[in-house]
């Protein structure tokens, strides 16, 4: 853990070397991402609701997903940009070091400009919560925290899967956008608005539904089952196969090369 935080500190130090660029990029990140929230607001100006969900409910849903995604961009940038490690041959260097590989990949990159998105997601979440008249109790607080945590975990898992793909080929890597960006765009709305096949896929294959649908229903008081509120815990299990797949990919890499 010490190595990880030290690496992050070094990345930050490196980024701050280019001060003007850092500030400009930070500001533009904030502006760019408000446009995404703006789209939701624009659509709700024309339509009344989406399958019974109001604008602030959707904004809450989106901000949680956005939070998880951006946290990964900041703190797991090395996994996100794993293809660069492979293409540049820097992954070989990691294999020469006596440490866990995933840890080293995490240490290999960081992008603190993206923390603008994290901050923004938190702001939007707070605004949405203030408008929603939630009946707060301890279970709801736990559910909200679990949603935030599972949002981070699910994207970490997906990034890890995409990284595993790089062990086979870096060609056509764009397909991961379906699961990362695509997943993010889709999960900005409660999964329930989509057709059955989608819901099943994103419940059991990539469990977005446990991040921001079932717990959301509980959190908003639409469903009273406590299991719904605790369902984000299932996402943690999902991480396991992702790690296994990554290790399988690594094995292949060392037998096939790049």
């Amino acid at each position: 853990m010490k190595i990880y935080f030290k690496s992050l500190a070094m990345h930050l130090k490196g980024e701050l070397e280019y001060r003007v660029n850092f500030i400009l990029s930070f500001l533009s990140q904030i502006l760019v991402f408000f446009t995404y929230y703006f789209i939701i607001i624009a659509l709700f100006a024309k339509f009344d609701n989406i399958k019974g969900f109001t604008m602030y409910e959707v904004l809450l849903c989106f901000s949680i997903i956005q939070f998880g995604f951006s946290m990964n961009e900041v703190f797991a940038r090395g996994v996100d940009r794993f293809d660069r490690l492979i293409i540049r041959g820097d992954f070989d260097r990691l294999l020469l070091r006596p440490r866990n590989i995933i840890l080293q990949v995490l240490c290999s990159d960081g992008d603190f400009v993206k923390s603008a998105r994290v901050i923004q997601a938190i702001i939007v979440m707070i605004v949405a919560l203030l408008h929603l008249h939630i009946e707060w109790n301890i279970m709801r607080v736990i559910t909200l925290l679990l949603m935030l945590l599972s949002a981070c975990i699910i994207f970490f898992g997906i990034f890890l899967l995409a990284a595993s793909y790089c062990f086979y080929t870096v060609q056509g890597l764009e397909v991961r956008n379906v699961f990362t960006d695509g997943g993010k765009h889709m999960a900005q709305y409660p999964i329930g608005v989509f057709s059955k096949g989608f819901v099943l896929f994103f419940t059991f294959i990539i469990p977005y539904a446990f991040v921001n649908y079932y717990p959301l229903l509980y959190f908003l008081g639409k469903k009273d089952t406590i299991i719904y509120g605790l369902s984000p815990l299932l996402v943690i299990i999902y991480l396991l196969p992702c790690i296994i797949v990554f290790h399988l990919g690594m094995k292949r890499y060392s037998s096939v090369g790049s």
């Binding site: 070397e17 280019y18 260097r93 294999l95 006596p98 080293q104 060392s254 037998s255 096939v256």
Partner: protein
């Protein structure tokens, strides 16, 4: 058993075929053909502790594949390899603590921050005890003359300065084996000399085993007593540089300053050319030794001055590659 034992290692890669033209582009959009390339083909050798071995061969001969296998990055399709009692690709974490690798064309230093920060991070990664770390670091700083450069962001360093920091970074954990993959590439003469001197000293003082790949033959002549020549994935020669020289260095250039005219025909003289001040001769030293020739010459003409040039090693290597058709 030797310190490094490599037995019959082979490795094959698959590469996609590429063709040009619009029609072919559409075709390969749908289906792609592959070629199998044997990068390393049944290679065996052994190296003792404390040796410096030059691993040479033309581009694409299989040098870096071998280095990758020896350092545990790749595992071979077949064959065995034991280094310091371990199989590199099987006991990765334990093994890599014992080796250091310098890639001349790739950097392990963090670009935007001073090298010393990278060193500190490596200390944590390799779990080097503080005292040992400080003494190794100070030793390296002194020997590689890093004092004034480790506090400057790496991107502002010259190539030579950076390479010295790279080498230091690879040695912080005092490895028993050091792999150097083209460590002098792109360096100026002074930096090259500094790097070579350091490597020599390291080998002498710490008995570090060193495996060196390079295209710069003067690296080899100054550092390695033994070379392994590889071409098309096979070992073509393994032995001392001197022996190879004796085998191959058959042409010698002799330039004679004389006022007399020379008429000589003898076995072993490959060519004779007149110039302004005398003659240029090329001889085959296998057929006629230099002293033999000089005796003959001194009987016939009066020699004012004489200059003997050995065939440059680069040229020798070119002939070597040609002979092996690699």
């Amino acid at each position: 058993m030797s310190f490094i034992e490599v037995k019959q290692i082979s490795k094959t890669f698959r590469v996609a075929k590429k063709k040009s033209g619009l029609k072919e582009a559409f075709k390969s959009f749908l289906k792609r053909e592959y070629l199998d390339i044997k990068a390393v083909d049944d290679i065996s050798f052994s190296i003792e502790k404390g040796e410096i071995v030059g691993y040479i061969g033309p581009n694409g001969a299989g040098k870096s594949t071998t280095i990758k296998i020896l350092s545990g990055i790749l595992n071979p399709d077949s064959g065995e390899c034991k280094i310091a009692g371990m199989t590199p690709w099987k006991e990765r974490v334990k093994y890599v603590k014992k080796i250091g690798v310098v890639f001349g064309q790739k950097s392990q230093l963090w670009w935007d921050i001073p090298a010393e920060d990278t060193f500190d991070l490596l200390r944590d990664i390799y779990e080097i005890p503080e005292e040992e770390y400080l003494s190794t670091k100070n030793d390296l700083i002194e020997k590689l003359n890093l004092k004034d450069i480790i506090n400057i962001p790496v991107r502002q360093l010259s190539l030579g300065q950076r390479m010295r920091c790279e080498i230091a970074a690879s040695l912080l954990h005092s490895p028993e084996i050091l792999f150097l993959d083209e460590p002098t590439i792109g360096l100026d003469a002074v930096s090259k000399q500094l790097v070579r001197d350091f490597i020599k000293k390291l080998n002498k003082e710490k008995q570090t085993t060193i495996i060196l790949t390079t295209h710069d033959m003067s690296d080899i002549t100054t550092l390695a007593k033994r070379i392994i020549l590889i071409g098309k994935g096979k070992v073509l020669y393994d032995g001392s540089l001197k022996k190879l020289k004796n085998m191959y260095e058959t042409e010698t250039y002799i330039s004679i300053k004389t006022k007399d005219s020379l008429n000589i025909k003898k076995k072993g003289i490959i060519s004779k050319k007149k110039n302004k001040e005398g003659y240029d001769l090329v001889i085959n030293t296998k057929l006629i030794s230099i002293s033999e020739l000089l005796t003959v010459l001194s009987h016939r003409i009066s020699i004012e001055d004489i200059e003997i040039l050995e065939e440059p090693i680069d040229k020798m290597i070119v002939r070597l590659y040609e002979d092996y058709q690699i």
